[in-house]
Structures are given as C-alpha cells and as structure tokens.
Symmetry: C2
Subunit: 319 residues, 2 copies
C-alpha cells in the first residue's frame, strides 16, 4: 500500500517545467499556474477556478472511508482552494471514474455526501463526466468562484513586517492519517482527515480585509506551503514554533498534509485589530506564528522560544 507516496520529483518542480513550456500561450492579466486558483479577469466579476484530483490508494483507501464522506471531502478540498484566494465558491464540476461494484449504492451515497456540501455552502453542481474504470476510483473536482478582483489574495502579496497567521490547530489530519494506516478508521483525528472542516466563510471574510495581504490554504504542511508565499513575494520568514497551535508533535504540525487551515499574512499595524474582529465574527481564534522579513533567500528561520533551531523539515508531497 502506497498512501500519499513521496517521490523525488515533486509537483512543484514539474510545475516549473510546464510554466516554461506554456509561456508562449500566456495572455495578459491571467493569474495562472502556481496559486491555489487560476483567476480569469472580467470587466464585471473575476472568475476563480481550482481543480483537485483524488485517486484511490493514493489519496484515500476505499475500505477506510464511507462513500458519503469521500463525496463530501472531494468537494470540500476544492472549496478550500477558492476560499483561500478570498473568493466565494458558487459552482462545481465533478468527474468520476468508477469500477463496476461501485456503480449503484456506493455512487448514490457518494453523491449524497457531495450534495450535502453543495447545499451547506450554496455551491451548484453544473457539470461533469462519469466513466467506468477497471478497478480503482478516480475523482476530479473543479470549484469555481466569482468576486471582486480587489478581494483576491495571492501568494505574491506578502510584505516585509507582515505578521503570519494560521486559522486553526495544525497536525490533526496528519495524526488521523497515521491512525488510518494503522487501520484505526474512526478515531477523532481519522474522522477529521476523512472529512476536514473548511474555512470558506473565513476565507471570504479575510478576502474583504485589505490589511490581509498573501493567503493560501495549508495542504502540504506550512514547512512546504509557506515557501510558495516566500518565493512568490521574494521575502523570508521567521516562524515561532512555540506559537504554532497543535495538539500533536511539532513535526506533524508543520509537515503534515491536508490541514486545510488558512495561512495568511496581515499588515503588522493592523494584525491585532483583524485578530480581534475575526474572533468577534467567528467566535474562534486565528494564531500569529511569525513574521515576514526582508531577504532574497526566501527561507524560513525557525525559532523555539526565541532560540534559532535548524530542523530538516519539508512538506508533505502528493506527487
């Protein structure tokens, strides 16, 4: 069983190759490969589009999850990408390839889970593709948002002195995955891994705050994810690991996959104001874990109670 296999050439090396190959098809004003979503500009409202693929025995184990939860998660992880750009998702498309034994009850239960999330977040299923498969299930979801260009939060917009925040406790999903691999399918953390809570309203609210600069969702662990912000914004970061909200090991908290919490930076003069307002609106905390500093190395300085440490942390790789 390979589950979320790690390989030498990660997704982001390959993305650079593609970016170079496709430079001659680029059109002005398009935010393309690299952010959580692609943004198609318009005179009216911009369109934000994200897509994610879930493959059996890579992203999920059939016997470990109910089809209902898998249907829900397939849409949730895509809504997370749109909300992490500060934009409200409105539509989705679902492609699914299923073997014979899943074509009746399994598929209806899957769709019920997908429907429950569609209804909860007001997201309309507008199309897709269904096809057979020989043995494994493959799922691809596209989530589409609409909104104002001025609310779009990109990875390239972090500024020196910004405070770095996360929107919730990290590492639960990584712990849940360990449980699942040990065939403990229904522990509290396994349930979180199988059906994560997604910060859609929170992302859209943060999108409307001009004091919030860069934003993304945490899918591969902050040790990996924040590097995209640092590289895109050409800055570095200090992270205080003692400030990271977690109930597990610090390694799982910074390197574990699929937390789907928001990672964002706020202008340092307004950070405490936004933190207070967020608590007022959502009755929960956002956590300040560090700050953006000037440097063209785009690296992370890890601090533990103000002492610099040099861990060999890297993110979770889906590919």
């Amino acid at each position: 069983m390979k589950y979320k296999q790690k390989i030498a050439h990660g997704e982001f090396d390959f993305i650079d190759i593609i970016k170079n190959m496709f430079v001659d098809t680029n059109i002005n004003n398009i935010i393309g490969i690299g952010d959580d979503c692609a943004i198609i500009p318009s005179d009216d409202e911009i369109i934000a589009i994200s897509t994610d693929m879930l493959i059996e025995d890579v992203h999920f184990i059939r016997e470990a999850t109910s089809p209902y939860d898998l249907g829900a998660k397939s849409l949730l992880v895509n809504l997370s990408d749109v909300a992490a750009m500060g934009i409200k998702p409105y539509f989705s498309l679902l492609s699914i390839s299923i073997p014979k034994e899943c074509r009746e009850i399994w598929m209806i239960e899957f769709m019920k889970g997908y429907h429950s999330v569609s209804k909860e977040f007001g997201v309309m299923l507008i199309g897709g593709d269904t096809t057979g498969s020989i043995d494994k299930i493959a799922i691809n979801v596209v989530a589409i948002g609409k909104g104002d260009m001025k609310n779009v939060k990109k990875r390239e917009d972090a500024k020196v002195n910004d405070r770095i925040f996360v929107s919730g406790v990290l590492g639960q999903s990584a712990d849940g995955l360990k449980d699942i691999l040990n065939k403990k399918y229904n522990t509290p953390n396994a349930l979180i891994h199988k059906k994560p809570t997604i910060a859609v309203k929170e992302g859209v609210w943060l999108g409307k705050r001009e004091e919030v600069h860069a934003m993304m969702d945490i899918s591969d662990g902050i040790a990996s994810d924040i590097k995209h912000i640092l590289k895109s914004s050409n800055v570095s970061a200090k992270i205080n690991i003692d400030k990271i909200p977690t109930e597990t090991t610090i390694e799982d908290a910074v390197c574990g996959g699929e937390d789907y919490k928001l990672l964002f930076t706020i202008d340092h003069q307004h950070a405490q104001k936004i933190k207070s307002k967020f608590k007022e609106v959502f009755n929960c905390e956002i956590y300040e874990i560090g700050e953006i500093i000037e440097s063209q190395n785009n690296n992370i300085i890890w601090l533990d109670n103000n002492v610099e440490i040099n861990p060999k942390w890297s993110g979770f790789r889906h590919f």
Copy 2:
C-alpha cells in the same frame, strides 16, 4: 481488456438521478448538467465550461498511443465540447495522475502534445493538479470558453422543419478503434481515433449564425447523441441513412464513438445558404442527413432511400 466498456446503467440514467438530487442547489440562469458545457451567465461575456476524463484501459491503451498524441487528444476532445456550444475556448486546466514509470520522458512528451494543441487553438493552460497513481494513468481536462450568450447553441433549440446536418465523415474513429483492439496501431483510422480533428473554428462560426438552432458534438454516435437534442427540444427526427457521409458500415457510422464531428440543425429556409457559405469559408462540406419533425415521442425514424427501416441501433456508452 475492457475498452470503452458498456454497462447496463449508462451515463444518462445516472445524470437524471443527479439532476433530481441537486435541484435544490440550482440558481437561476445557469445551463447546467445535460449540455456539452455548463454556461455561467454574466453581464459581460458568458463562460462555457466542459470537462472530460480519460482513463487508461477504458479510453486509451498506453502501448497503442504515443504520450504526445494522448496529450493532444486530452485537450482536443474538451475543446470540441466548447466549440459545439458555438463558443471559442480560451483556457484549460489539466489534472493528471501518473504512475512512477511515466514521470519523466513520458510526461514531458504528453505535455508537448498538450502544448501543441494549446498553441494551435490559442488556449492557455491556467491550472491543474498532478498526482501519483499506483499503476494506471487518469487524466481530467477542463476547457473554458468565453463569448456572447446569443451565440450559445443548446440541445433544446431544435425547431420543427429544421434540417439536420453533420460536419464531416462518420465512423472513421470506430474503425480505428477496431484496428487498435486488433493491435494495428498505425492504420489511417487508428491515427484518427488517437488524434481526432476537431471543428473548433467551424463550431464558433456556426455559433454566430442565428439560422443554426441546436448543436452538439458527436461523441457517442448520432444514434445516441441526436436523442439528446430530440428529448431536450421535445421533437422527433427523420434521418436518411443513405445521406450519411461514411466510408465504413452504416452501423459504425451511426453507433461508433468519438467522431467529434458537429451535429446541428438549421432553419429549413436557410439551410442551403448556410451550407454554401460554410463551403466558401472552410472549403469543405457539411452534410444534410435529415429533418426535425413534430412529435412528442422524441424518436428517430430511419429511412433508407425513402423506405422506413427499423434497426436496433444504440449509441456508444462510455459508462
């Protein structure tokens, strides 16, 4: 080897179940599940979105196709869906799940094929997802077009007395598939099956003609595909099989999959004018194969040299 397997519950039965389940998430003005594309309206230009999944050993055999041709075809079949709504495609997203042995040369060649089509049709790759797989390749492409709502050609717009047209010779792809299943991978028809010619410019041109009413692309054979037009428009059709352009058996021509020619109806008073203009512009023929008639049975009357026949033809089923 199951290749394009047929099963009892086809895609369209399942689509009805989904349509009913998701009726409570529907929003006004959206053309959703059922057409070649979903249409998102806008004060400015509408957005047309289509998605198609290609699964190894269901839609293609790895040893029978070059990664270059497969990359090209993955995008082409999606561009066909957008053009078949009368809209020009501008953007695409690519998700691909690949086993270890395909992650270097195979993948670069695949992307070169995908890029060649992107460049030929001016379609920008704006995002996607890459992930590992245990053994089989799964591909999902999304194609996105922009254009005027008045140019959108839907399946529901066929009118009584409309003449029915196809944009090219039918059945070559079905013959090519037979060759491939007999391990003759490089016959002329096998090459057409592996890298079909797509009528993008033609679809966009027809989209601008108000005399053209309903339109779709032929992916499952006209015996199956035209039924979607008849059902959506609540009409029936007479089809003259002696008028169907083909170089193979009539059964392969009307039931074979993946022709990707356009199937459309034209106001009977303007059919010959459009046919002449099409030839002027594209230097090739469109073929009149029948007419729309009044009836609420939504069935096809097949005629062979004006004699009614009763064949047991049904379309090609992907699922």
